[in-house]
Assembly symmetry: C2
């Protein structure tokens, strides 16, 4: 017999049923919160035109795209690929179904995406992302930025983590700030350096900035900028201290103030601060940006993120579709939290409520009827028809179920059943 | 600006939010029923080793497999492909996680599969299948066959179709019957002919059988065989009439009797008959086979199907894993039922319960607090922050929501809100 490698491919998540039930529950809870916040579900195909996907991708992403070809008719299908995020197919979707959608369009996609990243522990090539976006036509009021942040924060509560903190900023403040320092030309590279500032020693950051021909005074201003955080008044005052004249950052400051105040008025978002170190990538975001952290585990990095983009579909249409969105990287987050013991599997219920154990074939019909009744009461019922030794059957039951009922001829005759709790051993009588 | 084709690729399903909500609800209901029947969820990767996928595929399927390659490192990844069904990855999963699973292992996979079929209306290249399987180690009692059939039938009730009928048979009866006619050698081809018997005139079937050098008497016996249906006693008697001696089909008859009787004892399965025309493909199934039909729409073909297979993982292991399973092809079924008006979208609720319309920015904070309260009551709430003309906003609301609440300064001051039903126009007062 040929020997096959039956492990899943590198970078693919494959869970046992007891883990899957926790993963699915988290996914469902996130989805429920998104729906309660008015986000409508859509599903875009996993396979899309390469041309569409490459229109937005670039750099590393482009290298990571999986191409798809049919064995039989490769010529017809070499122009297909697996999507690497939800945003590009969403842009295509909005243009394609434009006339059938009601704008502002609040939309959620919770599904798998694909990136052929270098294989590495905790890096996934096939991963769930839980996205929530609001797309406007021509304009989209700033209040939506707060709405998305509150929704994502609420959804993260599914993980029952210790305290979480939202950190927000606005890209317009950074660009205004750099323009005031006459550094607009270098803004791409400077943004990139700030984005990594937490991960490298400050002297390295100074060196990197100096290499861009930025003078010592401005370098210190930039570093001071990234150290600004707190409530709106503190932040505005500290920015004034550095800049003197805050005119170049006025628009960004006003947006930030609106979002910050709306967030503070929400009773379900306990901890939000402004943090000018939050940048979020390079070109994509144009206004509000946010990240969420576990307060005592800043080391785990942000557990959700997002922001405002001026135009979702700039590659596909002349019409402007401003949007704001956020995302929870579920597969990665699940892995990270599991690794550091922040997901409590023991507290979780087993997948099955009750396992029924008929002692012989004579009880099969009765057992199926019992199962039917218990299912109608909303219970999850497994029947073990394999009438081997009771010990082995109880062992199986305790792996998958909360309780078990043994059904012999007495039980079938009387209709009186004994439910055994498989954790505590406690017994309860059930009369049908 | 470059002109992009923004339609989804041919063979891909892409629904509007109002359709998606119906699709998702059906998927959820099927999943809930499977869980209530004790099936545990797993998710296998969409991308798997080509070697694993090709171990079972053959003929048309092999031609339809999508190969996956990374742009950057094609050498490393040319051996990957998209799965074409749930069964092959399940076989790999069972072998790989063998020691961590409790057998009999009841498992459900509800997810997308991929086949590069010829483009054709109603044929999908990316499609959801809702599978429920029970896998034993070494043996699996026949009662599980009944269990799977009842579960799939119950799940199909989600579609609220007119009467449904389950038709069952057992492959051992057909093989015993053909062996009694000394036609074991031709059994593959004869099975294939019977599988298509409903779709071609009877004379063509006779011609096809004659080409296999089957004599006229046996041809008539085969045709009579396929016309046998009814309850167990009728079927056994008619088979006796044709065969005289029923010894060669005894094992199949006994299994069929057990399954039929267990099904008849189930109060939630109204209509089940034995129908020897039910064959289900060629080699895969080895015992019980079943299909479900809409009683008044036999023309739509079977809406679910499945059966017993002797060995799930014969390609990957010397250990025997007998299984029985069934599947609902959700994407295709959704399309077919929509086409012939059997899905009632009008009855469906809109995705949003209440749309909140603040009249100006002054009411934004209050509106977000109202939304928070209503969400805590389990309502799905959208806020339209785009303070344009009220007519346009009401128009948007009526597309996506069941009701709307306009919030001006009076409402913010008094906390008394008026909920307008967007279908009936009826107004209700809400006090917060």
């Amino acid at each position: 017999m040929k020997k096959f490698n039956t492990s899943p491919l590198s970078g693919m998540q494959e869970l046992l049923p007891t883990e899957q039930v926790v993963f699915d529950k988290l996914k469902q809870q996130i989805s429920d919160v998104y729906h309660h916040y008015g986000f409508q579900s859509i599903e875009t195909p996993l396979i899309d035109r390469t041309e569409i996907l490459f229109a937005k991708a670039g750099g590393d992403t482009e290298k990571q795209i999986y191409r798809v070809m049919k064995t039989a008719e490769s010529a017809d299908s070499a122009d297909q690929a697996l999507r690497f995020d939800h945003t590009v197919p969403l842009a295509r979707y909005v243009i394609e179904h434009n006339n059938d959608l009601a704008f502002p369009f609040s939309v959620t996609q919770i599904n798998r995406n694909f990136r052929g990243e270098r294989a590495q522990r905790g890096r996934f090539r096939e991963f769930y992302q839980c996205d929530a976006d609001i797309i406007g036509r021509d304009k989209l009021p700033i209040a939506y930025d707060a709405q998305v942040i509150v929704c994502i924060y609420e959804a993260l509560k599914a993980f029952k983590l210790p305290n979480m903190q939202v950190r927000i900023s606005n890209r317009k403040i950074l660009s205004g700030f750099l323009s005031a320092l006459n550094l607009t030309e270098q803004s791409g590279t400077v943004s990139e350096i700030i984005d990594h500032i937490e991960k490298v020693p400050l002297d390295i950051t100074r060196e990197k900035l100096a290499k861009l021909n930025i003078d010592a005074e401005n370098i210190e201003k930039i570093i001071k900028f990234t150290e600004i955080n707190g409530d709106y008044i503190t932040v505005a005052q500290k920015l004034g201290d550095i800049l003197g004249d805050t005119t170049p950052i006025q628009e960004g400051l006003e947006e930030l103030k609106t979002v910050f105040e709306l967030l503070n008025a929400q009773s379900n978002l306990d901890d939000v601060i402004i943090d000018l170190m939050i940048i979020r990538g390079l070109d994509y975001y144009t206004g509000t940006v946010f990240e969420t952290f576990i307060t005592d585990h800043r080391d785990l990095g942000s557990i959700s993120s997002g922001g405002r983009y001026d135009n979702l579909a700039s590659n596909f249409s002349n019409q402007s579709y401003p949007g704001v969105g956020g995302s929870i990287g579920l597969t990665r987050l699940f892995f990270v939290l599991k690794e550091c013991g922040l997901l409590n599997f023991d507290e979780e219920k087993k997948p099955i409520d009750i396992c029924l154990l008929p002692l012989s074939e004579n009880e099969f019909k009765f057992t199926m009827q019992v199962a039917d009744q218990l299912r109608k009461q909303g219970k999850t019922i497994d029947i073990d028809f394999d009438t081997r030794k009771l010990g082995a059957r109880m062992n199986r039951a305790s792996k998958i179920a909360e309780g078990a009922i043994v059904i012999g001829d007495n039980e079938a005759a009387s209709g009186t059943l004994e439910l055994k709790d498989l954790k505590t051993g406690e017994k309860t009588t059930i009369n049908l």
